[in-house]
């Protein structure tokens, strides 16, 4: 080998190197949960909390959905337009939209979340002031849109445009960080189903966002949940809307591809 010096690698060597890289890639993610063993957070919660989620008059997330429906039909902004004026009946037009986000946005050249999509539509098309992250209005609209995907399989598009962002998200998921020096995967791939204090560690499949979290006594986004987790491992949380959070969200959604949406979900 040394004799070959600076000569370009032969095709056979290139194949060999690629082969080694593939083996490394597979072994690096050997901890990923096999498809057949995937469980949504719903399946891991108590019968009482499940009953709360299943009954639309007991699920507090439906209060946000109700409010979102009212906002959907309200004319706002300089354009004097309501969401319904362009998109019509959300029950038909928004079916499956939440299951496809984060989705690639050509204007920004990167994937954006459903919240960011709604926020952009509000500023660009309705010409209304932007909605703050985690504001009640934004969560209500998101919950209303996400509700229309209930029961549909998660189906984010992974192609040449989104692949780099997916890879970045996967890398974040497997990277140790914070004072506790933990990676997301160490809890959610390696120790799901076990106890963390009083709670069962879920597999981190974002099937039901935005969720009504009993601990919050309110509806919150996946970004809020991810920031919570980061605080839990004593890492500095990424800002709302940070590319790293969106990439992570994209990875989590692709990891949960095919699982059924249950937004607005109730979680402990």
């Amino acid at each position: 080998m040394a004799a070959s010096g600076s000569a370009p690698p032969s095709p056979r060597r290139v194949v060999g190197v690629v082969g080694v890289l593939i083996v490394m890639a597979v072994s690096a993610f050997a901890g990923e949960i096999p498809r057949a063993e995937r469980r949504s957070g719903y399946e891991l919660m108590s019968p009482e909390t499940r009953a709360m989620q299943d009954d639309d008059t007991a699920n507090p997330g439906m209060l946000w959905v109700l409010e979102g429906e009212a906002l959907w039909n309200r004319k706002i902004g300089a354009a004097g337009r309501a969401c319904a004026d362009c998109h019509g009946d959300a029950r038909a037009t928004m079916k499956g939209v939440a299951a496809r986000h984060p989705a690639f946005d050509a204007a920004r050249g990167r994937p954006i979340t459903l919240e960011q999509r709604i926020g952009a539509c509000r500023v660009d098309r309705q010409q209304a002031p932007p909605l703050a992250h985690e504001s009640r209005e934004l969560l209500a609209l998101t919950a209303y849109v996400a509700r229309q995907s209930r029961g549909l399989p998660i189906d984010v598009t992974i192609d040449a445009r989104t692949q780099p962002f997916l890879d970045a998200g996967r890398a974040t998921f497997h990277r140790r960080q914070g004072q506790l020096n933990l990676a997301c995967s160490q809890c959610h791939d390696d120790h799901w189903g076990r106890q963390l204090a009083g709670n069962v560690i879920p597999q981190a499949h974002p099937t039901g966002y935005p969720i009504y979290r009993l601990e919050w006594q309110a509806v919150g986004s996946l970004e809020r949940r991810l920031r919570n987790c980061l605080v839990g491992i004593r890492a500095e949380p990424y800002e709302y809307g940070a590319p790293a959070l969106v990439d992570l969200e994209l990875y989590l959604m692709s990891r949960a591809a095919g699982m059924k949406m249950d937004a607005p979900a109730v979680r402990p």
Binding site: T57, A58, P60, L63, L66, Q217
Partner: protein, 106 residues
């Protein structure tokens, strides 16, 4: 914004015990918390919930600061006649919401 979700069976047999579920959007701020600047956050809770059945009071609940946000109140009554169930929540800062639902009794 104050939305409420009511679940009352549409039909019931006379004398049957029916379950009524109510859920209302409310922060139920205890009045014991302080903001990040140290200022006291004023109490803002629902204090009273009343349900009347064709004008007769059938259920009443007093609420206190230890009750979580978005109170979910479930109770039962006996279906006596067809008519209207009226619900009223009232509380701090002039909070008042009324809702109603109809029930048909065979």
């Amino acid at each position: 914004m104050a939305g409420a979700l009511i679940n009352v069976p549409e039909r019931a047999k006379r004398g049957e015990i029916v379950e009524i579920k109510t859920l209302i959007s409310h922060p139920m701020e205890t009045g014991y918390r302080r903001s990040q600047t140290g200022a006291r956050v004023g109490r803002d809770i629902i204090r009273l919930f009343v349900c009347t059945y064709n004008g007769t009071e059938v259920f009443r609940a007093e609420l206190y600061p230890a009750i979580a946000a978005n109170p979910f109140i479930v109770f039962s009554t006996i279906a006596t006649e067809s008519g209207t169930l009226a619900f009223q929540w009232s509380g701090d800062n002039g909070f008042s919401v009324t809702e109603s639902a109809t029930i048909a009794v065979d």
